[in-house]
């Protein structure tokens, strides 16, 4: 079973780093901006069934590059990535969520607040996210650098995709 998952978020929030950590268990401190799309593949065993996740690592959404809707088509789910140290990236993620929902309807997704390794300088607190939790959003606090919550993020979404397919 193949499932397309899009990584969405503002620039420099850590989308590529999260994918890299999940697929290769590596992390680089250097920031390399993404232009265009990179598709990575990882097979997960979910409830005894192999699920091939096709992770579409899209470039960051900002004034320089807007996400092309054609890239989102065919997605089974998506992950919104937010940088905990930059509160404006939460607004970007909320905007992207509205775009996807408008295009694809209600499909499974999860939000991760990345960079928990530097939580002392976070600008996003739990209060800002409580309203989203009340709306039923699945929210993780994690770090591509330390690997915190990375596996559970993808595996939780994979479970939801599988449950939806059944």
């Amino acid at each position: 079973m193949h499932k397309k998952i899009c990584m969405l978020g503002g620039f420099a929030v850590g989308k590529t780093s999260l994918v890299r950590r999940f697929v290769t268990n590596l992390f680089s401190e250097e920031y390399h901006t993404s232009i265009g799309v990179t598709v990575e593949k990882k097979i997960l065993s979910v409830a005894g069934e192999n699920v091939t996740l096709m992770l579409w690592d899209l470039y960051g959404d900002d004034e320089f590059q807007r996400i092309r809707e054609s890239y989102l088509r065919g997605s089974s789910g998506y992950i919104l990535v937010v940088d905990g140290t930059r509160k404006e990236t939460l607004a970007t993620a909320l905007g992207l969520q509205r775009t996807v929902e408008g295009l694809l309807g209600s499909i499974p997704f999860a939000l991760i607040v990345n960079k928990s390794d530097v939580r002392d300088v976070w600008e996003i607190d739990d209060a800002a996210l409580s309203a989203l939790r009340q709306q039923g959003w699945t929210i993780f606090f994690g770090s591509a650098k330390t690997g915190e919550a990375v596996e559970s993020l993808f595996s939780t979404l994979a479970h939801r995709l599988l449950n939806q397919a059944m």
């Binding site: 397309k4 620039f11 420099a12 920031y31 390399h32 901006t33 232009i35 265009g36 799309v37 990179t38 598709v39 593949k41 096709m54 579409w56 960051g60 900002d62 320089f64 590059q65 092309r68 054609s70 890239y71 088509r73 065919g74 930059r86 404006e88 600008e123």
Partner: protein, 326 residues
Amino acid sequence: MRSHHTRQATQGEILCTQLFVALETAVLERVDQTDTFSLQGTAPAWWSSIFGTTTPPSTVRPGERSPFLKQFLGEAEQGWARHAAGLVRSGPWTERDSHGTTLHLEATALVVDSRQLLLVARLGADFEQARATLQRAREQALRHAQATKLQTRTESRLTTQLSQSEELRDDLLGVLQGLGLATILTDSQGRITFISDEAAGLLNLSTDRTGQRWDQVLSCSKTDRDAIWTRLRNPAEQHDPLTLHLETDNPRWLDVTVSPHPRHNEKRILLFHDTTEIHDLRRLLDEKARFHDLVGSSPSMMQVYQLCESCKKKRSHDWARPNQGK
């Protein structure tokens, strides 16, 4: 003639093939409205590392190797179906070959003479330059945002500190005014930076004199001024208060203590005590002690003594003359 045209067409075909190879672009023609394509001309050098060895005119299904291209073919289908003259571009995407080398590619779908074509180009120097520019722009945006946040935090901290300092200052001022101390604070240039209400009243100052030099505000003799300047220069060396006579409409005797500022070495604190009453009482005692046994102490005589005393102060060098002459 015909062989000349044939030779020209062949040469043109060779040129086109070489051109596409030079542009690192693979030219594919769609076969029978399917996801199968036949490679036209010569495949560029990078092609086999991603899509395998393909010898023209053998066919290939590029969507099977690249999920991105597979999705783009769906988008391209609409353009091919319309037989439109325009191009449908995929936008850049990245593939990794079997050696782990990344290649940046872009696909373009178009129709030429009813032939549905797919061009897959490897992006080169222009792409890298655009990426470097975008990288710099985003790094700069991050730095700017960080600097702005730092500035905002600093501003907020300083505003809080300022507010606390102002509150403390107001409290201390209240205490100072409540104590009724006549105080003047001066800076290194002798300019007044603070003057208490009590001091303003004592020195007969009806307007705010902050910013003026203390010696422009204090109406006293040059000798007194010089004495104060000496104290201001070396406040720690003398401890006894200076006595000065204030020469205003309401003359007063003042004791002045000059102290260094506890935190700013160049600043001085001048503390004034009104000793006019003490001086008057001393004078009266002095007069009684000196004259009552000689001439008498009737009110008329006392007025004469006081007149003599004031003349003595004003003209000390002429003091002996009226006394001796009368």
